[in-house]
């Protein structure tokens, strides 16, 4: 029976015209505004894998990312540790089974580990630009200065009255934040960030591969 191919969709409504990238419907990035000084990207297609396990077990040894930090110790994977004994792995779209497999192989029998593909359960956005902290400070009570929240900082806190995993992950020396919240709030969250960024001419952008 011929059926339309399953298309995955982000909770953030598309703006402008759309493309399908890696099985995901995404907004097209406007060429004109490429290199906007402050941009907000819907990164929903990225793979997200949740890992829970002991702070001093095989998983921790593999991921090498202490609580409070983000790192790229696994190639092509951003590992974030916003909660104790818990990691979220971000990778290119469609890589969840491979990642889960990779970690599972390292877990000895008897070690309690939860591995979940949470790609669809979280909204993921990236805010990039030097005014990023000025936008975020309208919504978030954390001290965003370099001393307290340097690049590589990973934390779970309240942003726009949502519980958000916030990772400072600068790109080419430009301040950048990767933020994820419960998927169902995605529309609201994106809107709140855009509103806060109005003052600094924030621009929404579509997802482009590899995106991580």
């Amino acid at each position: 029976m011929a059926r339309p191919a399953a298309v995955a969709r982000s909770p953030i409504p598309a703006f402008g015209s759309t493309d399908v990238v890696a099985g995901w419907e995404v907004s097209q990035t406007s060429r004109t505004s490429q290199g906007a000084t402050l941009e907000l990207i819907d990164c929903m297609p990225l793979t997200k894998v949740l890992v829970r396990g002991a702070a001093s077990g095989a998983v921790a040894d593999l991921l090498k990312t202490p609580f409070g930090r983000a790192s790229r110790t696994l190639s092509g994977v951003l590992t974030t540790a916003c909660r104790p004994e818990e990691w979220t792995l971000y990778a290119v779209p469609g890589s969840a089974p491979r990642l889960i497999d990779k970690v599972t192989k390292r877990v000895p029998a008897g070690e309690l580990v939860t591995l979940l593909d949470i790609t669809h359960g979280r909204t993921l956005v990236r805010l990039t630009g030097s005014r990023g902290p000025d936008v975020l400070c309208k919504l978030c009570g954390i001290d965003l200065s370099d001393a307290v929240t340097p690049t590589g900082a990973a934390l779970r806190t309240s942003v726009a009255r949502l519980t958000v995993e916030l990772v400072r992950d600068d790109r080419n020396g430009v301040c950048s934040y990767l933020m994820s919240c419960d998927r169902s709030y995605g529309d609201y969250f994106f809107g709140a960030l855009l509103d806060a960024g109005t003052e600094f001419a924030i621009e929404p952008q579509g997802f482009v591969l590899p995106g991580i």
């Binding site: 029976m1 059926r3 339309p4 191919a5 399953a6 298309v7 995955a8 969709r9 982000s10 909770p11 409504p13 995901w24 929903m44 949740l50 829970r52 202490p66 609580f67 409070g68 930090r69 309690l112 939860t114 979940l116 949470i118 790609t119 669809h120 359960g121 979280r122 400070c137 309208k138 919504l139 978030c140 009570g141 954390i142 001290d143 965003l144 200065s145 370099d146 001393a147 307290v148 929240t149 340097p150 590589g152 900082a153 990973a154 934390l155 726009a160 009255r161 949502l162 419960d182 998927r183 169902s184 709030y185 995605g186 529309d187 609201y188 969250f189 709140a192 509103d195 806060a196 003052e199």
Partner: protein
């Protein structure tokens, strides 16, 4: 009258403006305040007082000015001595009865005898039924402007900040402290409530102006100072959390900055205190600061012939400024040499002044400089209890917490140079403390960069305290006058209040309302205290002040609210529901379809064909680990140990008091992996509840619970044709009744989407399948189902139809059919409760409940009149008393008659019992207790089909 160019003037004479006041057109210059422009045009009466209708004019010429509160367009209570004129602005007086200028002095005198403070407590007591009429009259006295019922304009913003040092007050002390703190390495916020930095230097002489220029240059040359003008530090809260209101911003009406300051420097200077004597509120009587500001900032000549009553240098300087401005100073009455002012007289405005020795001067201006009030408000908020110094006749900071410092006029006198030095020391000390505090705040923050070792701070005792000059203690003179201008409270009324027994300052305040107006005591509290102290024959120290509270200056609701941040949650199918015109239902943060136009038809379609409902908000949890069943057993009253892989069970959860907390089904997906569901509204609580058992009572259990509510789009496919429909879309799962019976769970591919879970459960009482598909494919699966079901008569249904369907089936809703006191046995859940388990939440209470029979019971009810649906919450009465209530009630489209659930007293719970229900309008209806909670298919044949 406008003077010729003044060296420190803030008006731009090249930018003339026009505005409307009281219906007439007035000129102004850019930089003028409303009141300075009016004063420049010779206007002296700006308002009438609210109780006695007395004319009032400029008193302080700054934001505290009690007689200069006006309406500007839609905005009430605008400070006319602070708000700058804009071209085309429409301003009007607020209290103008009978008119702005009319002389009601005579009437006043007659009335004021009877309108003394608290008169309303002593009359209109009887009869009570007339009070509304009196009240209506009293309300006519309400002061203030008019709030229009138009949607408010404006962009109100908020932000957090984490400065090292916040300096409240941008006078010389504040500027010097800010520069020193910044030079010592601190990130500084310098906050000044006026439109420009400089404090009192701005209306000073050449020396002051040159120091001001230097300080301003130093501030702007320092990178790490953020200067906020027209901004107020409005509150200091626990944890040195500051509310800073920022105005005069481009594109933003107002912004509230919530600053977690490591240290706060309070440098607000001093507030000039009015003198209490007869006629002290007449337009034309003003403080020395007001006269100097009018002359030096706005080049306004405040009068033509003046008496100056001075006790300090500010009065002396005012006398000089007046002469310089061409005002004839006919008398300088010097309090330091025993001079006094006894009475000011005039009809609408000042005409003469009587001095202590009986001399009377004809004049239109009286300038008083009788002393200072320390604005200690922010310090009090920080826990300080400032002490009164009799010699200086003002309060001083006493015991400040580590994170709050004070400098400038509030801490002492001395030369400008001494003050600058004191402030610089304070700034450095604050920076040092901020560094230490910053280290403390970063300690234990796992993501913070390592702290550098704290530098030893400058010793506070290294700061030489400012000298304190003696000042004549002048509060009330020989006559009575106004203490609180905005509340229209005189010293006489305060004395009377004390005599009547309201003898503490707090009672006198509440009885007379002194200090309860717009300035909140900043102008009036010390005079009020002095009057009460004199009347009770005690000292000012013994009397104490009233409590200072935030905000330091009034803040708009708009600024406090900021942008609306009300999170909402949507399912992945939201766009589809919206496009189909679904009526939204707000359920906590979720917005869900209540129905798509006709809930009754939706019900019928489920019973006869197949329907789809979006149940994404259902709480869902992944449980993993060898002890998952132990956790389930602890949370639920049911047993879980023997649930087979691939099976699903309904469970009920109670709190420790035995009250029903939540319910839902849980399926065993593999040996040590379960998927648990909870009511959508209970999901957040449930997670915390489960974690509390794991973290506090059973840390030894090896299990993870992870919320996965939003990971899945959840779709219930219900109706006799649901299997037929799913067979068209589901791959690799045998959907037959034998292979996939009721209360089982399977995993498979649906509409080409992998990893979908399917449960056979039925809240609706129909054959139904609940699909949990990875959220991003929710819309795809939903659309596929709609498409494939077209020939089966598929239609979506909403919450309302689901409520009816479940009621027909007799399924309870926790929180609707139970309440905050309903223990599990009352909810007909006896079958689920397993008291032989070792432990579960609420077990003791339930075991005691089991031994008793006097609890209400949930029952099914069949109203006898098939046309009348008793509204939910209708009461059931028996023997003249309330004996229960209807918890759920609907007309059943399936049965064609009303159906209900009710919680009733135990003796009425037997099936067949006839009950009396009170309908609206008091009519009684009869209903019979049914055998089962289910009205439809009690045997459950359909859902097992």
């Amino acid at each position: 009258m406008r003077l010729s160019l003044r060296p420190g003037e803030v008006i731009d004479r090249s930018r003339p403006l026009r505005f409307t006041w009281n219906g007439h057109d007035y000129p102004a210059f850019l930089g003028d305040t409303i009141s300075s422009a009016l004063a420049a045009s010779g206007e002296r009466v700006m308002s009438r007082s609210f109780k006695y209708s007395r004319p009032r004019g400029v008193l302080t010429a700054d934001s505290l000015d009690p007689g200069c509160i006006v309406q500007v367009g839609d905005e009430p209570n605008v400070r006319a001595s602070h708000r700058r004129v804009e071209d085309g602005m429409i301003a009007s007086p607020q209290n103008v009865w009978p008119s702005l200028r009319f002389d009601v002095k005579v009437a006043n005198r007659a009335v004021s005898r009877f309108l003394s403070a608290g008169f309303y407590y002593k009359t209109f007591m009887k009869p009570q039924r007339l009070w509304p009429a009196y009240e209506a009259v009293l309300k006519r006295f309400a002061s203030g402007g008019v709030i229009s019922n138009r949607p408010a304009a404006g962009y109100f913003d908020k932000r957090y900040a984490h400065p090292d040092v916040v300096v409240a007050g941008g006078g010389p002390a504040g500027m010097s402290a800010a520069v020193a703190a910044a030079e010592a390495g601190a990130q500084v916020m310098l906050v000044e409530s006026e439109h420009e930095l400089g404090g009192h230097l701005r209306w000073g002489g050449a020396h002051e102006l040159s120091v001001l220029a230097e300080l301003k240059a130093a501030v702007s040359a320092t990178n790490s100072i953020e200067v906020l003008i027209d901004s107020v530090v409005a509150g200091r809260y626990d944890g040195n959390f500051l509310a800073i209101l920022q105005r005069s911003l481009p594109g933003v009406t107002e912004r509230l900055i919530k600053a977690r300051a490591k240290t706060l420097i309070v440098a607000p200077g001093l507030i000039e205190r009015p003198y209490v004597f007869a006629g002290n509120d007449l337009p034309g009587v003003m403080l020395s600061g007001a006269a100097r500001r009018l002359i030096n900032l706005w080049a306004v000549k405040p009068g033509t012939r003046a008496v100056v009553f001075t006790a300090n240098s500010s009065g002396d300087a005012a006398a000089q400024d007046l002469e310089g401005a061409g005002v004839e100073v006919c008398c300088v009455e010097d309090a330091r040499r025993g001079g006094d002012v006894v009475r000011a007289s005039g009809s609408a405005t000042l005409q003469s002044v009587e001095c202590g020795d009986g001399r009377t001067y004809q004049c239109d201006l009286l300038v008083t400089a009788t002393g200072w009030t320390a604005p200690t408000s922010l310090l009090n908020m920080a826990g300080d209890k400032p002490t009164y110094d009799e010699r200086a006749a003002r309060f001083f900071p006493c015991s400040l917490p580590e994170d709050v410092l004070a400098t400038g006029g509030i801490t002492g006198d001395g030369s400008l140079e001494q003050i600058l030095e004191h402030a610089a020391h304070t700034g450095r000390l604050a920076a040092g403390r901020a560094r230490v505090a910053g280290g403390r705040l970063r300690k234990g923050v796992p993501h913070a960069a390592p702290t550098d070792s704290p530098v030893a701070e400058e010793q506070s005792n290294a700061i030489t305290a400012l000298p304190v000059d003696a000042h004549v203690a002048l509060f009330r003179g020989r006559t009575h006058g106004f203490v609180d201008f905005s509340e229209d409270v005189s010293s006489k009324e305060l004395e009377a209040a004390v005599a009547e027994g309201y003898s503490s300052i707090e009672l006198a305040k509440r009885y007379t309302t002194a200090t309860m107006g717009s300035a909140q005591g900043k102008l009036e509290v010390v005079n009020a205290v002095a009057v009460v102290a004199a009347a009770t024959e005690s000292t000012i120290t013994e009397t104490g002040t009233t409590v200072w509270r935030p905000p330091y200056a009034p803040i708009t609701l708009g600024a406090l609210a900021g942008r609306t941040l009300e999170p909402v949650r949507y399912s992945p199918m939201q766009s589809w529901h919206e496009a189909r015109g679904a009526t939204p239902l707000v359920a906590g943060a979720w917005i869900r379809p209540d129905h798509y136009g006709n809930p009754t038809a939706e019900v019928r379609n489920v019973r006869s064909n197949v329907g789809l409902i979006d149940v994404t908000p259902l709480g869902k949890f992944d449980l993993r680990g060898p002890d998952a069943a132990k956790l389930l057993s602890q949370l639920y009253v049911n047993k879980w140990a023997k649930l087979a892989v691939g099976s699903v069970r309904y469970g009920v959860m109670c709190a420790e008091d035995g009250v029903v907390l939540d319910d839902g089904v849980t399926g065993r997906l593999s040996d040590d992996n379960y998927l648990m569901t909870a009511t959508s509204s209970g999901a957040d609580t449930l997670l915390e509840w489960a974690e509390s058992w794991l973290q506090t009572e059973h840390p030894e259990w090896r299990v993870h619970i992870t919320p996965v509510t939003s990971d899945f789009a959840s779709i219930n496919v219900a109706g006799p044709k649901s299997r037929t429909l799913l067979e068209r879309l589901v791959e690799n799962v045998d959907l037959s009744a034998e292979a996939f019976p009721y209360m089982r769970v399977r995993r498979g591919r649906v509409a080409g989407v992998e990893d979908c879970l399917m449960w056979r459960i039925g809240f609706t009482g129909e054959l139904s399948f609940e699909l949990h598909v990875p959220s991003s494919y929710g819309l795809h699966v939903w659309e596929s189902l709609m498409e494939q079901g077209a020939d089966l008569g598929i239609a979506p249904f909403g919450i309302e139809a689901q409520r009816i369907l479940r009621l027909e089936k007799g399924h309870l809703i926790v929180g609707q059919d139970t309440d905050g006191l309903t223990r599990a046995y009352s909810a007909e859940l006896d079958w689920a409760i397993k008291l032989d388990k070792e432990d579960f939440s609420g077990k003791p209470e339930l075991s005691w409940q089991a031994e008793r029979s006097d609890w209400p019971k949930l029952v099914g009810l069949r109203p006898e009149d098939v046309t009348v649906v008793p509204p939910e919450a209708s009461q059931i009465v028996h023997d003249g008393a309330i004996a229960g209530r209807i918890t759920s009630s609907r007309m059943s489209p399936t049965l064609g008659r009303p159906i209900c659930l009710g919680l009733v007293a135990p003796h009425l719970a037997e099936p067949g019992t006839e009950l009396s229900i009170v309908l609206p309008a008091g009519v009684r209806a009869r209903a019979v207790v049914t055998e089962h909670l289910a009205h439809f298919d009690p045997e459950g044949q359909r859902l097992r089909g």
